[in-house]
């Protein structure tokens, strides 16, 4: 549906930092960090709780304003924008959340229409986009339902349809599968892979689940203590041996409930995925 220049990075975080103080006085957040996400790729951010990965993601659309540094999305510096321009820019940056954050008093179709209404789209365009996006996530028949009538996986699909409605170039995903069971996670990851492959949307995704990173991401940034400590390329689900991440995988498993593996074997994991499908 959308094509965009691949020479400009989709997201550039330049020297961004953000610090918070927790109630017990601990300093958390993001230390001065650089991150570049190429157009068209799925980039994962992984780390333990409190590593600053969600904060880093939320800096990318300025839900958190950095204490310092620049946030550049498709060549435009969000940090330099006045509020109205920033709102317009945000309309092209989709976002999904761990707890879906749907409007509960609106139908599925109205939820998907929401970002378009905000942008002042015409009724015809709204109808067309709602139909297209709900069909894309496989929920066309749920258009008139309310979120309370849906399962967790269905709610996240609606959230994806909502994020896709304004045809974004970039999708930010904050722990999108962490509230879902392994099987639902699997089918949701396929939807996200489709969003990337068929629609060409760049995805920046935060997860603490190793399995999600391995199955979905092209590249991964490993975070610890507010820093990116490792940047890796994931080739067909293979975590480069000798990396910090490979060590974590060995120590803690892939976070999907499977037992830790002795050896990182991509074919084994592919077979397991096939049996889920």
């Amino acid at each position: 549906m959308t094509t965009q220049p691949t020479d400009v990075p989709a997201i550039q975080l330049r020297g961004v930092s953000k610090s918070f103080r927790t109630p017990d006085g601990q300093e958390v957040g993001v230390q001065p960090t650089d991150l570049e996400v190429a157009a068209g790729e799925i980039h994962g951010i992984i780390g333990f709780s409190g590593a600053g990965k969600s904060t880093l993601l939320r800096l990318a659309n300025l839900l958190e304003r950095p204490d310092a540094g620049q946030v550049i999305v498709h060549g435009d510096d969000l940090t330099a924008m006045p509020p109205a321009t920033l709102r317009a820019a945000r309309q092209r940056i989709g976002m999904i959340f761990q707890h879906f954050n749907l409007l509960h008093n609106r139908t599925v179709a109205d939820n998907v229409a929401f970002p378009l209404r905000i942008a002042g789209a015409s009724p015809e365009r709204i109808r067309e986009r709602v139909d297209t996006c709900l069909a894309f996530v496989g929920l066309a028949e749920k258009a008139g339902a309310y979120p309370a009538q849906l399962s967790g996986g269905q709610k996240q699909r609606v959230a994806i349809a909502r994020a896709l409605a304004p045809e974004p170039h970039v999708l930010l995903a904050d722990e999108p599968t962490s509230a879902l069971d392994p099987r639902t996670t699997q089918s949701l990851l396929e939807v996200l892979a489709d969003v990337n492959r068929r629609l060409g949307v760049t995805i920046l995704l935060v997860s603490h689940e190793m399995g999600v990173i391995r199955r979905l991401c092209h590249r991964v940034s490993v975070m610890e203590g507010g820093h990116i400590v490792e940047r890796l390329r994931i080739d067909q689900g293979r975590i480069p041996p000798g990396s910090q991440l490979a060590q974590w995988l060995k120590d803690y498993g892939d976070g999907t409930g499977d037992a830790p593996e002795e050896e990182v074997d991509p074919t084994a994991s592919l077979q397991r995925e096939a049996s889920h499908a």
Binding site: A88, R90, F97, I118, A148
Partner: protein, 225 residues
């Protein structure tokens, strides 16, 4: 007993009709004021509270909160007397249902503002955040997120306010406000006509039940959560 009650009722019917009209007038005026000004004030206080969309306007939040607390700490009957110069200034008199509507509206505005602010806190922060991430302006967040997601709570807030101020309007009757409460006090209390007292109380009970029932029915109907 019942027969004589009925006779009194019929005899007093014109008075009761007039009183009901006055009560209705006071309620309509003070609820309208509460909805318009109290609603806006409550929404603004919510939006400017810590961690919300307009949280950077901290000073406004502190001042508005203080204002609400000050007005809400006045016992109503004191407020009634305290604002009477102001009432005379805008209505021209401090007697009658219109005059009583001024202190009633003042009290209702701050009462309702606090109720609204607290009702809006039930809207999950994440839902508001999602709207922000989609590029919604603060006004769009109010109209399309807050008022939609909190609508059943908001209806209940209006219901509670209506019931409370039906009762407050009787207090306003003491200083010549008129209305059903005034009727109860004049006939039932000052003249020891217990039957009149009974009739007005039955009327008030029916009114309160009706408002409460309708409010809860409507709130349930619009709640899809």
């Amino acid at each position: 007993m019942l027969e004589s009650l009925l006779a009194t009722f019929i005899e007093l019917l014109p008075e009761i009709g007039k009183a009901a009209g006055e009560t209705g007038l006071m309620l309509v005026i003070c609820l309208t004021a509460a909805l318009l000004f109290g609603g806006s004030l409550g929404i603004l206080v919510f939006l400017t509270s810590k961690g919300q969309v307009l949280g950077r306007f901290r000073r406004f939040n502190l001042v508005a909160n203080g204002f609400i607390n000050v007005f809400r700490s006045f016992p109503f009957i004191i407020l009634l007397v305290a604002v009477s110069p102001f009432t005379r200034h805008i209505v021209g008199t401090s007697i009658g249902p219109l005059a009583a509507s001024v202190p009633l509206s003042l009290a209702a505005i701050f009462y309702f503002a606090r109720l609204i602010e607290q009702t809006l806190r039930d809207v999950p922060r994440g839902v508001i955040e999602a709207a922000e991430a989609m590029g919604a302006s603060p006004l769009q967040i109010v109209r399309q997120v807050l008022l939609v997601e909190a609508r059943s709570g908001l209806i209940l807030a209006v219901t509670i306010t209506a019931v409370s101020f039906l009762s407050y309007s009787a207090v306003a009757g003491v200083v010549g406000g008129g209305g059903i409460g005034d009727l109860a006090i004049r006939y039932g209390y000052y003249r020891f006509q217990t039957d009149v007292m009974l009739i007005t109380i039955v009327l008030l009970v029916i009114l309160v039940q009706g408002i409460q029932f309708f409010g809860q029915w409507l709130a349930r109907r619009v709640d899809k959560r």
